[in-house]
Symmetry: C3
Subunit: 666 residues, 3 copies
């Protein structure tokens, strides 16, 4: 547990640097990220490097006892490079190259940019790879930000054809795999294949998914190139990338596989405003963020990080980039920081040290205001630093690894597939995965978020949000774990090539779920379908609890099963069709249920899995790391922990005020 900050010495007079470094240290900051947008200062003229200022900046930071997270500057190629190689610019779905003048204006498939990136990364890594103050690295900045993964450039199409050749070997195999006979879309050679864009009506879904897979692989390839250069010149320094909340145009697992640290940039208020939440939800959590949003991301990146994950950028006050930008309530910057540590973070690094008074982000708060006074967020960061010292002093295991009994499967390809082939216009995969996660969290459970290819050993409960394409051995790994497994609808509904399975959904999962989804419905926003829980299970036991009604929205399946199968119908739709069935340890939801029903069913299944649940409501959240339990109050009312002994508290007390944090030993 430690704090960091993002800093841009190139934005400020050199005369400020020493004072900045001293004040950072005094506040309790330990690491400083620099230089990710400084290419035009590193290489102001093609081939002529200017390292002097950066040498001095790093020296100043190091002299103050701060560790530097050094960045490659590739997120912002300078104008002269673009003018020399205009084909670096990515091309949008509208066929137009995007222009210089902001950031991320490069195509991952551009050979010229790959070469230029190799050159600047090598130069930076050579210069600073062994500098004593440089302790970590970051590659580029926020891959995928501003929808920059998928490009429709000639360079991308050329590389896509190569990618297809490698995948399918022959054009006959591709035609067969995709099913191009439909609408006479058959190809005679790989060179006939274009990007799936600008077609009269929707392009072929297999073509589209492969293009998305390809674009994702290009990001991994590009990042790997940078990691290898850094490792060659800076051995022993962990390499990170700062992923961005829910920017899911590439497979974060694949990129993280090449890194030491998966970090992410946490902006709870901006995310609330920009994501799928309804207006009343946006108003309810306006100045705190949704209680499960940061947690969801912490758990995503914890799962893919070899070393403890970081928050590379933590929102310190109002931001500039959402449609509307409220200020966090007093206490929220502290709460968010502790929440990250509770979920296993190794570092929380605030963005940024001081609000810049110019350019695009001038309205983005920092720890300090532009006139260099400590802002609310800066004060709270200082408080966190003090508290960390106390917690670490008293709890040797404070940095323990988080252990969860529940796992949630999260899959990037599922996002792309539902985007490409949704069947219902509002089928938004991250939303539905988040809603399952939120239901688990409202029951007080710690949750690991894992890829579909993970081992599930050690988990008692595995929740699988809609997962159309399942890996070959998915059912086997789940069975082997012994966990209770909950499948959302669409599980196993597609093959890898985006076909309906020959035996209909759930396809390969039929081994553990002996049912057949013979029809589906997507439901428009003003339509729901009632769900009635069965009073009596197939095995004859009476359910003691009072199970009321709920409803499905967005989606429902029509399922049937062989008469011989051991399928236990636990809920039905109003028309009698099964809504929730169980087969042994496997549970299948034939619809997307309202939040209350989802929570009720998860509570029951968790009980069957032998996991204790605590109904927390929607504002209080609990996390456990080592012997410490963390309680966070996002609500407007104080929350009381009567069951905890007063002397157990490391931070806070039995009464957790609004925006408050309590930590106790158990």
């Amino acid at each position: 547990m430690r704090l960091g900050v993002c800093y841009y010495p190139e934005h400020w007079p050199e005369s400020l640097w020493e004072d900045d470094a001293r004040r950072m240290k005094a506040l309790g900051i330990e690491q400083v990220r620099i230089a990710e947008f400084a290419w035009s200062r590193m290489e102001p003229t093609p081939g002529e490097y200017d390292w002097g200022w950066l040498d001095r900046a790093i020296d100043v930071l190091g002299a103050a006892g701060l560790k530097v997270v050094m960045c490659t500057p590739t997120a912002t190629p300078p104008k002269w490079l673009i003018d020399r190689h205009p084909d670096i610019l990515p091309v949008g779905a509208d066929g137009r190259a995007r222009a210089f003048g902001s950031r991320r204006h490069y195509d991952f498939s551009s050979p010229a940019y790959f070469e230029a990136s190799q050159r600047i990364c090598t130069a930076v890594a050579e210069r600073y790879g062994k500098h004593p103050a440089v302790a970590y690295w970051q590659t580029d900045n926020e891959f995928g930000c501003h929808h920059t993964v998928v490009s429709y450039s000639p360079a991308a199409v050329a590389r896509f054809r190569e990618w297809l050749k490698a995948r399918y070997r022959t054009i006959q195999a591709l035609n067969e795999a995709w099913g191009t006979v439909f609408w006479s879309m058959e190809y005679r050679s790989f060179d006939e294949i274009d990007a799936p864009v600008a077609t009269v009506t929707e392009a072929h879904p297999s073509h589209r998914l492969d293009y998305r897979r390809f674009a994702s692989d290009e990001v991994a390839r590009y990042n790997r190139m940078q990691v290898e250069i850094i490792r060659a010149h800076s051995p022993g320094r962990p390499v990170a990338h700062n992923f961005m909340q829910l920017f899911t145009e590439f497979d974060h697992y694949k990129v993280a596989a090449d890194l030491d640290v998966a970090s992410w940039d946490s902006y709870p208020l901006g995310a609330l405003e920009e994501q799928w939440f309804a207006p009343d939800i946006k108003a309810r959590w306006l100045r705190s963020g949704h209680p499960d949003f940061a947690s969801f991301n912490h758990d995503v990146y914890r799962g893919m990080s070899k070393l403890p994950f970081w928050v590379m950028e933590q929102q310190p006050g109002p931001v500039n980039w959402a449609q509307w930008n409220p200020a966090p309530l007093p206490g929220m910057v502290r709460l968010w920081s502790w929440e990250a540590f509770a979920h296993g973070a190794g570092c929380v690094s605030y963005f940024r040290w001081r609000q810049a008074p110019f350019a695009q982000e001038q309205m983005h708060a920092g720890l300090n205001t532009p006139d260099n006074r400590l802002d609310v967020g800066g004060n709270e960061a200082g408080q966190v630093a003090d508290e960390i010292r106390n917690v670490l002093a008293a709890n040797a295991d404070a940095n323990a690894t988080v252990r969860s009994k529940a796992a949630l499967v999260y899959d990037y390809e599922a996002k792309w597939l539902f985007e490409i082939h949704p069947q219902g216009a509002d089928f938004h995969y991250p939303r539905f995965a988040f809603e399952y996660y939120s239901a688990l969290r409202s029951l007080g459970l710690d949750v690991d978020i894992v890829p579909a290819g993970a081992s599930f050993d050690g988990y008692s409960l595995v929740v699988v949000p809609p997962l159309p394409v399942v890996p070959d051995d998915f059912a086997g790994r789940l069975e082997k774990s012994g966990a209770q497994v909950v499948f959302g609808p669409r599980a196993g509904s597609k093959t890898r090539d985006v076909h309906i399975p020959a035996n209909l959904p759930p396809g390969a999962l039929t081994a553990v779920l002996p049912l057949r989804v013979w029809r589906v419905e997507s439901m428009r926003p003003n339509v729901t379908e009632a769900v009635i829980l069965e009073g009596r299970g197939k095995d004859g036991e009476k359910d003691g609890e009072n199970v009321g009604d709920g409803f499905a929205r967005h989606w429902r399946d029509f399922i049937d099963s062989d008469a011989s199968s051991a399928l236990d119908v636990r809920a039905r739709f109003a028309d009698g069709h099964p809504a929730y069935v169980r087969s042994g340890a496997c549970h299948y939801f034939a619809g997307l249920f309202d939040d209350a029903l989802t929570q009720r069913l998860f509570a029951r299944i968790a009980q069957e899995a032998g996991i204790e649940t605590i109904p927390l409501g929607d504002s209080v959240r609990v996390s456990r790391r080592g012997a410490l339990t963390y309680v966070f109050n996002y609500g407007a009312e104080a929350h009381t922990l009567d069951e905890v002994a007063g002397n157990a508290f490391v931070i806070g007390s039995c009464t957790v005020p609004p925006q408050g944090v309590a930590i106790y030993r158990s």
Copy 2:
């Protein structure tokens, strides 16, 4: 009355074909449409045809006793053709060519495509024109689908100039006809004229309407070319095209004039979702479709078909292409099928035999599921086949021609004109025509839908939804018929060249409607204007009925008349201006009225026309064909026909259950 199905042998292993054919026949299917998307299989390499598989497929179908509807494959030109002639691709309003990769990626004005189409059509017609199993033909597939009629390509502009020359002869005549002096838009030669697109503000309405007329004529020209080739090589086989619900970018009457069979593709649920209906209406008819939507289309295509019209594609279950895709209620596939026959259909052909497990339409249900089990729709199709046999056996006149006393004028140019020059942003012609139709149907009337150029002899009631441009002899033909005629607002409001008539609207109709529309208002969605019916007509009769208030929405006229004219004001707006006036047999609505008021007025006028009406409410519909009366129940409650003797029923009984059908002899 017979059933058909759409089938794609090229999508399935040849080993399935015989069993498919056998099961079709066993289910009661009599005709099978094939090959409309199979160009890449017919001609996998430029100029090298592969007919073997198609020969075998047709032989298998013929051997099973099925009749084949053979298609030209021009809706999906293969990639090699596009690569050789990129100018085949249509150009959008954004100036970009649309890309290969879905369907309908061709420009009707492309000389290269016209030539290629002639070649493939000739090849197909030569090969199969006299095959004994080939009983019918279909040209292309769904002209106008995906907004593919209007192209802004250089080829289109070149042909447009020729079209203009033929229409106007001299550029002076064009300048005068359009009124280009406005805003200095005068042309000095036809070669100066471009497509009316990408202008700073709206382009000239006369220019725009002529471009739409031209684009429509291009479709007719293209279709005619195909029909002529087919007729030359396949004499005696009726030629059809499958029109698409409300795809009104071209004049369906003009295309149908070259065909033997006008058929259409009926997707009641997808249409409900994608059309203008308000969210509550979409929820109300979610799984049945709107009770008047399929009927409206049946009556449209019945009117333009030389032989009995067909439903070439009938929705058999959930589809894939609407924003949300619900499943039909049990019974609806049967109901829709009988409804088509009630309206005079010769054939109802389901789309498709078996759900394809791959490509764009993999979520589109068929009569069979992808794992080849008969789906709900398949079972209902089988039931319909049995019922047809019974009906035909017992009723020699079951295939009689539908006779209606009421006609509704429906005009494609009106759609284009209101789109180009609406004056109120939500002036949607098909909606308003549909609402008049729906009002007539809710009164139990059978309705013929006819073009403005039709003879109205034999009708007692003619309803004219907003019709800005009237043919020269329109008033004369209406008068000659002796029918009561109801005009919606905007009747006669424009000349053929899109001018306001010199005597103001209703222009040429002033002969029968001695009034003058001197001002109009379009009304924003949250504004209505009260309408008060007059208690006493001009002729001194007291209206016996209790006529309450209604309101206008979307549109109102301000009208006046010569003091000498025999204009009877039957309703007024709250400000005293006339809202509904009568002159002899002609009735003029000076606004678009709410549904209830429209129904009330139509009921009264029908009575004056000597037509009996039955108030049916919104869920039950009645149709008559020959001596048979058909009753359809779209609602959730059973409907009782107390007045019909029990032994009169051919299908069903006095109680028509939800989604039920009853047929009785009268």
Copy 3:
């Protein structure tokens, strides 16, 4: 006070002209605007002018005793000119040139168009500059209409670079001024700078604002060229331009500085429909327009016109160009006309004499219907003409200059800046300026609208809607005036180069407002923040009035001040932060308040400024010009003026009916 009309002789048979002129004169029209769209008739073939028709038209008008407002025809370059110089066409943000076929299809930066404009303007000015009937000129038509100020053409970029060179001299100065070090956006020469468009995410705000300033300057340069040509050939004739309501893409003050008459085109109903007003407001004022909208514009253009401003085009009936187009209530054309005179207009000129039956505007009403009968608006114009004669006869000072005690600062650059860098998606500057104006008007105040660079001497109250960039001597001029000054939020929040001021907002205004805005919030539409007025001011006086609560919406500031400062907190937000503070004569609103609260605060401050206020509600408005007081009733109920003696009325009486006008001497 006089009436005019817009007339297009080229649209009508020459045989109508004499009768038209006679009827205009008889109706009371005194001036006639002509020829602004007639280029294709003036020069039908390149270089070959045809003046004959225009000579005759002007002669006919002059012979009838009418004065001509002659126009340059540059708003509509003919097709042959575009075909010869396609680079005349402006280029949109989508990178596409806009096409010929409507109007305003030219790029202000096109050298070819500048040259062609010089040529045609010279030709027109030479021919008619000294014609006895030509009394005034109009340059072009409605600069900025259809968003035609900003172009992204190569020509515009080339001139932008020159503009930047002139402004910054060195590229180093530009890099520093903009802050291009952010995101490596540094430039090495002016030639590297492109238009700020098509970037991956938002372009640099300083870059964007400079591009807008440049585009605005191009309009002024273009207009100045025309004015100079006219003045050279037509000495002594005032030159006008017709500005368009709220078309704020260029600085109207800068263009007006070169003119004699600032005129504007008043379409109260179309403006209501197309502007920001909520649906219920649009329904409430559907057929009258918003009571403050035309007034706001009158006051804008009065302030920038050397001679009395004009309404060059006055809506006479329904228009064609809004989404929905209602008809004015009877009396509104008269009311609008008198309202313009009340606000100081020299002329009200109706658009147009007769509704054209063809082309884009065929649904736009005129004083006469297309069949040449006087329309409602025409009758009301005649009534106004009669009334003017009576008023002028009895009141020698009827044409007096309007004198106001209150001023409102209105700034075009502020509009651009909030558009570029809003921080809250609905921060719409004209709306907020209008709401302040409306609050003042509802208190019965006459208001001058002035630029930020104006002298404020003579005003008792100055209201400053959100003004991010203040001129250097702004605070000084305000102090010198002795007026009470109300600042909305964001005052002084940016430097000229779009930086946050070094001392934070209000930056340079800190001299008169000793506070520091250390944090801001933008608020989404469903969020408000309560405001509680202080019961007791800092000076110890008890507020006698019952000050209830109100709320902020859209925006709030967090402010603090030095303990030593004389800051009087007059209202607080619910969390205790100041919402409204006073320092001497300066008042600062730390949020955008609801209408009622804004009115209440303005009333109090006006009282403190020694200005009497009258609470008028939302439908009645009062204006004063010379010794005459004008009362206008926009509402549905009669308004009574009990305090005015019956014999004081020049027009009307103590009871002002709905849509009525009263004028009395005081």
